[in-house]
């Protein structure tokens, strides 16, 4: 038995439970036997990869589930050896550019040429109609973190080798992807599931796992599921983990106000406390204190932009969604978010936002 995230992951397009229109489109796409390059984007935990694998299953059958990890070595021009993981099946392979650092351009060019120069021959089921898929699928994760160079290198490759290769780019936003790539791909947006969608999934799982709830009424349960969904920012992956953790804590899940505090994550609590202290005490000494907190968060591998975003939302809610303050805070949060992505010293910019927020709230 494994984690619920793994256990209840749909394998086929038919098993998907929400965004039905999108699923229909993908099914139609797969049934034609050919499809254009795809750019699938959406927030984390909305089911991008699940849909991609569902489509691949539709195309190639169960063979795509036989996955293996290869460690590819690549020698760069400066004679340095580079290693990166490639997840592959007989019909597709999957790479993550963040493995490759600055050399992603060379690696991607090389890898794609390698794959594309070999035509797929499928002996196993040549009689069936599926044999006409003479192309391999390459999935590129975190496509928005590809360097501009690498993206520029992709655009020509995409056209040149389109006979043998199909690319599926996966990313959270399209903002990091250059326009020529966008124009060469079919953009597929996978939005986050709605609260009702998540609640449906959770109640299905609860039934299958035989979970017990304290006030065992449907209303209370629905309320809890919705709260979990909101608590985990409608990230389905997080929702499932959170729900499983909750179920591990005790035999019956008591539905009351404190239920969710059982599964609150420490760093989120810390940021909430930080926001409170910013509102309460606007002084230079408090900037120094919050700097220590920010350092601690960074050392725990929490991305700086996540800290910024979370802090902004906490601040806004602490000020009761006052229009003026919200507007100003968001404006500056956007500014510092830009600085974070342009610069390297994230602590400067995080502290900058804290200082700025104090100034705004002080007025």
């Amino acid at each position: 038995m494994s984690l619920w995230v793994d256990k209840y992951r749909p394998k086929k397009l038919d098993q998907l439970s929400y965004h039905n229109g999108l699923t229909e489109n993908l099914k139609a796409l797969a049934s034609t036997g050919d499809f254009p390059h795809l750019l699938v984007y959406g927030p984390p935990g909305s089911g991008k990869k699940t849909r991609i694998y569902g489509t691949l299953y539709e195309l190639y059958g169960p063979q795509v589930e036989k996955l293996k990890i290869d460690v590819n070595t690549f020698t760069t021009t400066s004679n340095r050896k580079l290693e990166f993981n490639v997840l592959s099946s007989a019909h597709h392979l999957e790479i993550t550019p963040s493995d490759m650092g600055n050399n992603d351009r060379v690696v991607i060019q090389d890898l794609l040429k390698d794959v594309a120069s070999v035509e797929q021959v499928d002996f196993s089921n040549s009689a069936k109609s599926k044999s006409k898929h003479r192309f391999k699928v390459v999935i590129i994760n975190e496509a928005d973190s590809l360097s501009k160079d690498a993206q520029a290198a992709l655009r020509r490759t995409m056209e040149k080798y389109s006979a043998n290769i199909r690319l599926i780019l996966v990313s959270n936003t399209t903002s990091g992807i250059i326009a020529p790539i966008k124009s060469r791909t079919l953009l597929v947006r996978v939005p986050a599931p709605s609260e009702t969608d998540i609640a449906d999934i959770l109640s299905g799982i609860a039934k299958k796992e035989g979970l017990k709830f304290k006030p065992d009424t449907d209303n209370a349960k629905q309320e809890l599921f919705r709260n979990i969904a909101l608590h985990s920012e409608k990230n389905l992956r997080r929702t499932l983990l959170c729900f499983e953790t909750l179920s591990m804590q005790s035999e019956t899940i008591n539905i009351d106000k404190n239920t969710l505090s059982l599964v609150s994550i420490d760093w989120e609590v810390i940021i909430a406390n930080l926001a409170k202290s910013i509102v309460a005490n606007k002084s230079v000494a408090n900037i120094a204190k919050s700097r220590v907190v920010l350092y601690e968060l960074l050392s725990h591998c929490i991305p700086a932009r996540t800290i910024l975003k979370r802090l902004l939302f906490d601040l806004i809610s602490l000020n009761n969604y006052n229009d003026n303050i919200t507007q100003e805070l968001t404006e500056y949060a956007a500014l510092f978010d830009e600085r974070l992505s342009l610069g390297q010293k994230s602590i400067f910019h995080l502290e900058g936002f804290v200082a700025r927020a104090m100034l705004i709230l002080d007025k």
Binding site: R80, N141, M248, D266, V284, I287
Partner: protein, 790 residues
């Protein structure tokens, strides 16, 4: 050549030029003669001959140099003893002018002392102080806050005693980790400590490091380069095993302790680690076999018996950064991950520079370092005081080696100062010509009350653009340090001055400019303008007192680096967690298969909560309910699948045993330094839960063990571990056999001899004779006493 008479002659005789010339020429001649000696031994007599012939020739002798130019050599005028000159004077006047004679003698002795002084100073300069003052005894070691670590190293070495010296057979001590991994920043005495502590414990040290040319191993210099390279792993293995099993004649019959230095930056680090790993595995195998002779003794053939190897000499590895997984400068496929698992890790630290609170004295660590440097200071008569040494330590950031180098470098300058009659008391002369970044920061925050604002701004401007401060701000590394230090301190100044929120905001925009500009090469030089802003915004007349008294961020100097280090460490933990997890879990947990920020953010925290649920504080195996059993089974199953191990780890800082999951993601989930309201991840409560939880999980794991193909190693107790690894070990046995079969004859032979020695190595270690070690004509053979006496 007799310097004395020469110089006196120069003093006496009026035209000294030709003598000097002659001297010069003879020197030339000599040197050319020597060089020909070296180059061509056959011709040496031919060259010598003319020399004799030339003694009769007054005219001089043309000598050709290697560059084709010719010089005429004239015979040096024979300078008879000085007394001759005096005798001349006697003969001419019949009387000796005593004053004159005294003068001459005084002069002579003065010149002699001058010469000897010069020679001495030259000799001192030849040796680096870092070598000269390298500690040789335990008492000489400068602890610099690492006393605890030293004791741990000694403790670890002590564990070897029963194995190496056969002191007392202690059963439970046999199962310790056989490799020690010392890590820490450069220049804090890791290597020295390893050497001295090993010596202290009665070992002779053999060192392998990145420098002593791993590729020039005795077995690897085959004619074709490729073949030699392929063999390097085997050769390395031979070298290490030889070092471990043999006693060299020079080591006074002391057992060897192998020290592998710079293991992280060595060119063939991967190979070394592989060899070490194999050795440890072989050793474990052997240990298991001896403890369980019933099950395996019968199966093992005599051939296998010979091949088995037990590790009975300590190995100490030294590395700077044991988490350098992403370095990839060399072949880092193995990284240190593998080694970390099989070795005991002791991390050395830099002395803490940051003063913990306002009024506290510098910590013991810094004081001991200061005293250590003071000893050198006294021995070299540098005349520095404690404060100056403190400055040196600050500049070098606690790096002892750098401190000593710095002192040596500046020590010379001080020497020249002492000779100059008007001894300058100005301390700034002792410093480097360029400003160090620390003094730069100090200058930036200072404002001179005597100058007007414009004047002092111009002064700073000059300093940065083309004065001595140029170095401090224009080298990107230094500028970064300066900016970081300013960033660390500026809040203190604002707090002191007007405590307004405007200044931090304004300065932050400048920091952004710095951050943006320093990345760009073309406009990089403008990045230093931020430094000017520091001065205009924050400089204060009371800078010194602010620096001393205000301290909003106690560890502002080190916090940036500490954060960086901690995040690197956490990332490597996440990677190792991912590597262990099964593929399906990996794909659904994080979208891709590689590192993803989702993991530290959500996945590991939830995992930590699931694996140590609430309400387990006081549970005994008897009092668990049905659903809790199910829960434990679930946890156990998950642990089994994702390759997590349960382990009891010793925390040297608190001196307690902690129960942890391995890979240890506690450090990612728990925020020790910040008070969180939820006591969820409070270490003590987590430990309490685990106390009752772990035995249950283990029980469950053992139950589920049997049908599973690949077992999980439980290293909690040695017995369980053995039980677990039995099937694994079976597989490995056949593998190593195959590998051994394909290795060259060299290995085969050495393996046989090696295993022989290993069985009785502690008492009857073999004697090897070494000749020309490391060269192609090396001789290395086994000798006995008969060879000595025949």
């Amino acid at each position: 050549m007799d310097y004395n008479t020469e110089s006196l002659a120069v003093y006496n005789t009026t035209p000294p030029n030709d003598i000097l010339n002659a001297n010069l020429n003879t020197l030339n001649f000599d040197s050319s003669c020597i060089s020909t000696d070296i180059l061509d031994q056959g011709n040496i007599y031919e060259k010598r001959q003319p020399k004799e012939y030339w003694e009769n020739d007054q005219e001089g002798k043309p000598v050709k140099h290697f560059d084709g130019s010719a010089t005429y050599l004239r015979r040096r005028k024979q300078n008879n003893d000085t007394l001759e000159g005096i005798r001349d004077e006697i003969s001419s006047t019949g009387l000796i002018d005593m004053n004159d004679l005294f003068k001459k003698v005084r002069l002579k002795s003065a010149i002699r002392s001058e010469k000897t002084r010069k020679r001495e100073t030259k000799k001192v300069g030849e040796k680096l102080w870092t070598e000269k003052y390298c500690p040789n005894r335990f008492m000489d070691l400068c602890s610099a806050g690492n006393d605890k670590q030293y004791r741990l190293v000694l403790h670890w070495l002590r564990k070897w005693d029963p194995l190496v010296f056969k002191k007392r057979p202690v059963e439970e001590d046999v199962d310790f980790k056989k490799i020690l991994l010392i890590c820490g920043p450069p220049g804090i005495g890791k290597t020295v400590a390893a050497h001295i502590l090993a010596k202290q414990s009665g070992y002779s040290v053999q060192e392998i490091n990145a420098a002593n040319s791993m590729d020039k191993l005795p077995q690897s210099d085959t004619p074709s380069g490729a073949q030699g390279f392929a063999n390097v792993s085997a050769a390395l293995r031979l070298k290490i095993t030889n070092a471990l099993t043999t006693n060299s004649l020079t080591s006074n019959n002391k057992p060897t302790c192998l020290v592998i230095d710079e293991i992280d930056s060595s060119a063939n680090a991967g190979d070394i680690m592989k060899v070490l790993y194999d050795l440890v595995q072989l050793d474990r195998k052997k240990a298991r076999r001896t403890t369980k002779p019933k099950t395996f003794g019968s199966k093992a053939s005599s051939k296998e018996q010979k091949k088995e190897f037990s590790l009975n000499r300590p190995i100490i590895c030294i590395a700077n950064d044991i988490y350098s997984t992403s370095g990839s400068r060399f072949n880092k496929s193995a990284s240190l991950e593998k080694l970390r698992q099989i070795s005991e890790i002791i991390s050395f630290r830099k002395p803490h520079l940051a003063k913990s609170s306002v009024n506290s004295k510098p910590g013991n660590s810094v004081r001991s370092l200061k005293e250590h440097l003071m000893v050198i200071n006294d021995a070299e008569k540098l005349g520095m005081d404690y404060q100056e040494i403190g400055e040196v330590i600050d500049v070098c950031e606690g790096d002892i080696r750098a401190c000593i180098n710095y002192m040596q470098f500046n020590g010379r300058k001080i020497n020249t100062d002492l000779i100059d009659p008007p001894k300058s008391t100005n301390k700034s002369q002792n410093k480097d010509k360029h400003m160090t970044w620390i003094s730069m920061v100090e200058t930036l925050f200072k404002r001179d009350p005597r100058l007007s604002k414009d004047e002092s701004f111009n002064y700073i401007m000059q300093l940065i653009s083309n004065g001595t401060g140029q170095n401090a701000v224009n080298l990107s590394g230094n500028l970064d340090k300066v900016i970081n230090a300013c960033f660390g301190r500026y809040l203190d100044f604002v707090h002191f001055q007007d405590d307004s929120l405007y200044k931090p905001n304004m300065f932050n925009d400048w920091l952004y400019i710095y951050d943006l500009f320093s990345k760009n090469v073309e406009i990089g030089e403008y990045a230093s303008m931020t430094v000017l802003k520091v001065w205009t915004a924050f400089s204060d007349v009371h800078a010194n007192s602010i620096m001393r008294e205000q301290n909003l961020i106690p560890n502002h100097r080190s916090i940036d680096f500490e954060t960086y280090e901690a995040s690197q460490k956490n990332k490597s933990i996440i990677r190792s967690f991912l590597d262990n997890a099964p593929l399906s879990t990996r794909t659904c947990l994080c979208g891709g298969i590689s590192y993803n920020s989702q993991i530290p953010m959500y996945i590991l925290p939830y995992m930590g909560m699931s694996l140590t649920p609430v309400g387990w504080d006081s549970k005994t195996p008897g009092s668990i309910k049905a659903h809790e059993k199910i829960m434990i089974r679930k946890i156990a199953k998950f642990i089994q699948q994702s390759g997590i191990r349960l382990e009891k780890s010793f925390d040297p800082m608190s001196g307690r045993y902690n129960l942890v999951y391995l890979p240890d993601f506690d450090s990612i989930n728990s925020f020790d330094n910040i008070q969180v309201f939820s006591t969820r991840n409070n270490p003590t409560s987590v430990q309490r839960k685990r106390q009752s939880l772990f035995p249950l999980i283990e029980l469950e794991l053992e139950k589920g063990q049997v049908p599973k193909a690949d077992p999980i190693s439980l290293t909690k107790t040695s017995l369980q571990q053995q039980a677990d690894e039995v099937p694994q070990f079976k597989k490995r046995k056949t593998k190593t056999e195959l590998v051994n079969f394909f290795k060259g004859k060299y290995d085969g032979v050495s393996q046989l001899t090696k295993s022989d020695t290993s069985e009785k190595s502690a008492t009857g270690a073999k004697i090897w004779i070494k000749y020309n070690e490391g060269f192609s004509n090396a001789v290395r053979r086994n000798i006995g006493w008969a060879d000595f006496w025949s």
